[in-house]
């Protein structure tokens, strides 16, 4: 039988898996969130998340459908450096470890990354930051929603709109029901599923193909995959590293966890998550190197993972990939929904619309914000504008410009608001120029370099002493 046909399940099996896991995630989310009370309980899981759940949620959120599907794709396109470059995304998690400890110490009652920027740098920088953060958050959310529909369609033949709607609706439902507690609780199980699934595939590839055969076939048919001097791939490696650092440093997905973790957990959770995440793209990616040995004809590079799985395991392989992809999608979608909603609730609703809103009002509005964000994401996903996913490459320039203003703002008391604002705006602009003049693989690199130069120069030129105690009271009125 043709392996492309094998890579797809029939729609009935697809529906069965989709229905079974939808019920599991919604029931688990509802169960975990049954005792959630108040704003802190809903947004930050009561600020007492332990090491196990903390480590798993950091890992699961960073394992997106991109990791499971794009790591093999990159290995097929860029060879060994493709998977190694992807694995350097773990550096962002590890570098965030000391930041998480600092954030928790400076802002024990903080809610969002926006809180920090507003109190540390003032309103202008805050608004620039919110623009970057919401653009990125919504872009990532929509691209994940679209990826859900596309993957469900590719793996099962179920219509794009129906698959996307089901996946998005499931994530919205359990996030509305249980808030961050439901998100973190389901992440634990999703992490285990993803890890076991990827391991099973890698193990089968090693047993069935073997390193000698894999290497010899690749060397004969696709020697570039084993080439260690691949300039574009090496540039990709460094750009991906900085893109990842920028994504993690600025995004409320990671900040909200730093606030939610129990004291002393943040540093260890992020560090361990980074170390454990690093090999995943290598394990998921290397199966693409078996393509020459398996004599597979890959019509679309992004289908290489499912096709190798189907070749090695038949229908069971396709089922395994589908379950892993669903878990990876849900673990990232729920986190994005929760964290972006927090930013909208705290920094837009309270920060700009109802500055005197009390905790009771915010707690009741929180669920509506998650639901509304889900509806907006669904509407944006409906037309399946594939160029929207490409927009995410743009965001490399945006997010990398925030690395230095955030890191310097957390550790240096002399970094000034004007320098931070100019660093974000100019870093983004210069990064975008690099994107258009050179290529996507340098946007984050150039943006981070420009932003760093501006922050360093402005801190030296116009130092402005900041009183760290201001950060301790993040609940002050916004007007």
């Amino acid at each position: 039988m043709n392996s492309v046909q094998n890579a797809s399940l029939n729609a009935d099996t697809g529906w069965l898996i989709l229905a079974a896991f939808s019920v599991i995630w919604i029931a688990l989310g509802g169960y975990l969130g049954r005792r959630t009370t108040g704003l802190e309980g809903y947004m930050l899981a009561g600020r007492k998340v332990g090491l196990a759940l903390g480590t798993a949620t950091a890992m699961a959120t960073w394992v997106t459908s991109n990791t499971t599907m794009a790591a093999p794709q990159l290995a097929l396109q860029m060879g060994v450096w493709g998977m190694l470059g992807y694995s350097l995304g773990a550096v962002g998690l590890m570098l965030f470890a000391p930041l998480a400890r600092r954030i928790h110490a400076l802002m024990p009652s903080g809610f969002t990354s926006g809180d920090f920027i507003r109190l540390r740098y003032g309103k202008t920088t805050w608004r620039v930051f919110l623009g970057i953060s919401l653009f990125y958050g919504l872009g990532w959310l929509v691209s994940m929603g679209m990826a859900g529909g596309v993957l469900v369609h590719a793996l099962t033949g179920i219509d794009y709109r129906i698959g996307m709607t089901v996946i998005l609706a499931v994530c919205v439902l359990y996030t509305v029901l249980g808030g961050l507690r439901a998100v973190i609780g389901t992440d634990f199980l999703q992490t285990l599923i993803i890890l076991v699934g990827i391991l099973a595939l890698a193990w089968l590839a090693i047993i069935n193909v073997g390193f000698e055969h894999m290497h010899a076939a690749a060397l004969e048919q696709r020697p570039e995959l084993l080439n260690l001097l691949f300039p574009a791939a090496i540039m990709f490696l460094f750009n991906n590293l900085l893109f990842g650092v920028g994504e993690i440093f600025h995004s409320n997905v990671w900040w909200s966890r730093a606030f939610a973790f129990r004291e002393g957990v943040g540093f260890r959770a992020y560090l361990i998550a980074g170390v454990l995440w690093m090999p995943i793209p290598v394990v998921a990616g290397f199966i693409a190197l078996t393509v020459p040995a398996l004599d597979l004809n890959i019509p679309a590079a992004d289908m290489v993972g499912p096709m190798v799985a189907a070749k090695l395991l038949g229908t069971s392989g396709a089922i395994l990939v589908f379950i892993v992809v669903f878990a990876a999608l849900a673990s990232s979608l729920d986190s994005l929904l929760a964290a972006t909603s927090d930013l909208i609730l705290t920094d837009i609703y309270k920060g700009h619309i109802r500055p005197h809103a009390d905790e009771t009002e915010l707690a009741s509005v929180a669920r509506w914000v998650v639901l509304s964000l889900g509806v907006v994401a669904w509407l944006l996903c409906l037309p399946r504008i594939t160029t929207l996913a490409e927009l995410l490459y743009f965001t490399g320039a945006f997010v990398a410009s925030t690395i230095w203003p955030i890191a310097a703002g957390l550790f240096w008391k002399n970094t000034n608001p004007a320098g931070a604002t100019v660093a974000m705006v100019a870093g983004t602009a210069i990064g975008l120029i690099g994107y258009f003049l050179i290529g996507f693989y340098v946007a984050a690199l150039i943006s981070a370099a420009a932003s760093m130069a501006i922050v360093l120069f402005s801190t030296w030129w116009r130092p402005r002493e900041f009183d760290w105690r201001i950060l301790a009271n993040s609940q002050q009125v916004y007007t």
């Binding site: 890890l195 890698a202 390193f211 454990l276």
Partner: protein, 40 residues
């Protein structure tokens, strides 16, 4: 310059071993947190 068979197998084997250790480690963490009442 291409990666050798031994380097490739070492890279993938180490990555697979760490990935295999990850779920075990997470379950151990979970049990430890649960026993100490520090899960949530």
């Amino acid at each position: 310059m291409t990666i050798s068979v031994s380097a490739l197998s070492l890279l993938v084997s180490v990555a697979t071993l760490i990935t295999a250790a990850a779920p075990v480690l997470l379950v151990v963490f979970w049990l430890t947190d649960w026993i100490r009442g520090r899960l949530w």
